[in-house]
């Protein structure tokens, strides 16, 4: 990618590059010049590494949204040996924001599902900047169900600012189609690998994001809400998006620390947009490796494993009820000694309250 416009925080590198190109333009460089050129080249690499090793959350978002960043259609070309697109959702129409079809990954035949944002204005208009409609999620589910039927593993590439917030999308059940995908994907008995390649925008990302191996590219992000949306609601103005980005803890490092993703896939120096082929090669390596591991998981263990993966996510405290903390609930329970006792006893996943309680209630309440 020779003509990638620099991001604001790349300024120091750009300055070094300008000096370098001036030196390189000298027709008959002296040994001193040649020495300076060599030194500059090293320091450019070092500077760039230093900058990209220390990106803050908002800068990461800028990289994740970079217009030259490789997208789903690029990866289809660079990662897979063959792609046979399947367009139909069987109900409404062909959503260009989600691309699905048969693909060959090394020796594996897989079902490919990927969100595409558009690399030029024409593509972006066709696929609403990567914001899928219900028909897109429905198409994805149709194809994934077929994949499960024929024992084909599924690869999902996630890259969306969010599901499309429009009148038609609401009329056609955006909430329901995403919900259905969450439920059904948890039960598809075939390996599913999900990789966030750019933006993992909330429910729209999760709609194709339930799987056995979840990965994220180094400078991608995966968030409950866009930093702009969060800033608008909690800070009352979009201009605080950088603060919101920081607070939401959605960079690849955080995602790994919270146990949301299994793997962070490293990007080429300066971000994926600087080396599409390099990025694609790394991604392919990761996909093949993860797939090989998942193919070794016994079919009857796969779904339990997937269930547990999501089941364990969440951070909360679990303690015996303190009467003082929650007066109202405690007051309600004051008359229900049995229930109270059982609650105090239970630590960890509580079992349903004793049968004796249940039958007492039944006796009281049968009308």
């Amino acid at each position: 990618m020779p003509n990638v416009p620099p991001l604001p925080f790349e300024r120091p590198v750009v300055e070094l590059e300008e000096t370098l190109s001036k030196l390189e333009a000298i027709l008959d460089p002296s040994p001193d010049d040649q020495d300076a050129i060599r030194k500059l080249r090293t320091s450019i690499v070092r500077k760039r590494r230093e900058i990209f090793d220390n990106l803050d959350a908002w800068e990461t978002v800028k990289v994740a949204r970079h217009l030259e960043r490789p997208q789903t259609l690029d990866y289809i070309e660079l990662v897979f040996d063959e792609f046979v697109e399947l367009h139909g959702d069987r109900a409404f129409g062909d959503d260009r924001a989600i691309v699905t079809g048969f693909a060959k990954l090394d020796e594996y035949k897989v079902m490919f599902v990927g969100q595409h944002k558009g690399r030029n204005l024409k593509e972006r208009n066709e696929c609403f900047y990567g914001c899928a409609h219900p028909e897109g999620y429905r198409k994805a589910l149709e194809k994934m169900r077929m994949a499960a039927k024929f024992g084909m593993p599924i690869i999902c590439l996630i890259d969306t600012p969010g599901a499309y917030p429009g009148v038609g999308a609401e009329e056609r059940g955006q909430a329901y189609t995403i919900a259905l995908n969450l439920r059904e994907m948890s039960q598809l008995n075939t390996p599913i690998i999900c990789v966030v390649i750019g933006e993992g925008g909330s429910g729209g990302a999760l709609g194709i994001g339930i799987g056995d191996h979840i990965a994220v590219l180094q400078f991608a992000y995966y968030s409950v809400i866009s930093p702009e949306g969060c800033a608008g609601i909690l800070w009352k103005h979009v201009k605080h998006a950088d603060a919101a980005a920081k607070a939401l803890r959605f960079t690849s490092k955080d995602l790994l620390a919270f146990g949301i993703v299994d793997e962070v896939i490293p990007e080429p120096l300066g971000g994926a947009h600087r080396d599409h082929r390099g990025m694609a090669a790394t991604l392919k390596g990761s996909l093949v490796k993860a797939l090989r591991q998942l193919m070794a998981v016994p079919a009857d263990k796969l779904l339990d494993r997937r269930y547990e993966k999501f089941r364990k996510i969440g951070v909360f405290e679990e303690q015996a009820v303190e009467v003082a903390v929650d007066e109202v609930t405690a007051a309600e329970r004051a008359s229900e000694d049995a229930a109270n006792e059982s609650n105090n006893k239970t630590d960890g996943p509580a079992k349903p309250t004793p049968a004796a309680r249940g039958s007492a209630a039944r006796a009281r309440s049968s009308v």
Binding site: V224, E318, E336, A361
Partner: protein
């Protein structure tokens, strides 16, 4: 997610006066603008006597309205939220939690348990829109998941009454988003096991709550004129840059477009639920 239909309540505004049936002897119906006697509204399960507008009811009142007297046994009341992200906007999340707990008398936005409805045993989950917009963080996700798992084990019908303007809770970041997947996975197993899930949508049910369990009922009921949808109306308006159609994202709109089975007035809810349970469960 948080497609807030209304601007979130600030510290100054957030007195109990802003929530639900307003304090004071007389209140004004936001729908028909009639000045009505508060006690009368409460006697009508939170309905306006003039136009039938459905006021907010707390999860505690909802339990009283739906279940047989004293039959409710709460589950997992000891679960408490914490602040895994160290999140702070204008106020730290940890402080917000304490304030919300004080204001609402709830430990979290979800209450779950088992009880009897006209003698029929069931598992019940409620999200209370008074607590941080009824948004789903780790505790809400965990409580609902456990409730669904117990309902699966004990072969109980599951009823979830949703009220959430917030969807997935921003303050717990990606952990909140993943609760959608967690609850839906539990519902998938419940579904496989042949369990009956009735989802009751109340005003408002938006964002990540609408886009997960709330939409997945075998039967989906909605209270009249509730705001229900994926994206908040202001976000949609800003995106499509046109005025939204009349009644957009109301219960009636969802009924028309096929995502709600029945619109049920609050006084009829108990009867409707018991009839559905009788049809589906032996």
């Amino acid at each position: 997610m948080a497609s807030a239909p209304n601007p979130p309540v600030t510290a100054e505004q957030a007195g109990p006066k802003k929530r639900g049936v307003p304090e004071g002897l007389w209140i004004r119906c936001p729908d028909c603008k009639a000045t009505i006697f508060r006690k009368q509204v409460e006697g009508l399960l939170g309905l306006c006597p003039d136009c039938g507008h459905h006021f907010y009811v707390s999860s505690r009142d909802r339990i009283r309205q739906l279940l047989d007297e004293d039959s409710f046994e709460e589950w997992d009341a000891e679960l408490r939220p914490c602040d895994p992200l160290g999140f702070a906007d204008k106020r730290p999340y940890a402080q917000r939690l304490v304030e919300e707990q004080k204001k609402t008398g709830l430990s979290e936005a979800c209450v779950s348990g088992r009880g009897y409805l006209r003698g029929r045993p069931l598992a019940l989950g409620i999200t209370d829109s008074a607590f941080i917009m009824g948004s789903m963080g780790s505790v809400v996700g965990e409580k609902l998941t456990r409730a669904i798992e117990r309902a699966t084990q004990s072969k109980l019908p599951m009823v979830i009454v949703s009220g959430s303007g917030g969807g997935a809770r921003m303050h717990e970041g990606i952990l909140s988003l993943m609760q959608m997947g967690k609850v839906c996975a539990a519902l998938a197993r419940f579904h496989e096991a042949g369990g009956l899930f009735v989802s009751v949508l109340t005003n408002p049910t938006m964002g990540g709550v609408a886009a997960s369990f709330a939409s997945l009922g075998d039967v989906v009921l909605a209270e009249p004129k509730a705001l229900i949808g994926f994206a908040g109306p202001r976000v949609v308006e800003a995106t499509v840059k046109q005025t939204l159609p009349e009644g957009f994202q109301t219960s009636e709109f969802l009924l028309k477009h096929g995502f709600v089975d029945r619109i049920v007035r609050r006084p009829d809810l108990r009867g409707e639920l018991s009839r559905i349970i009788d049809y589906c469960c032996r």
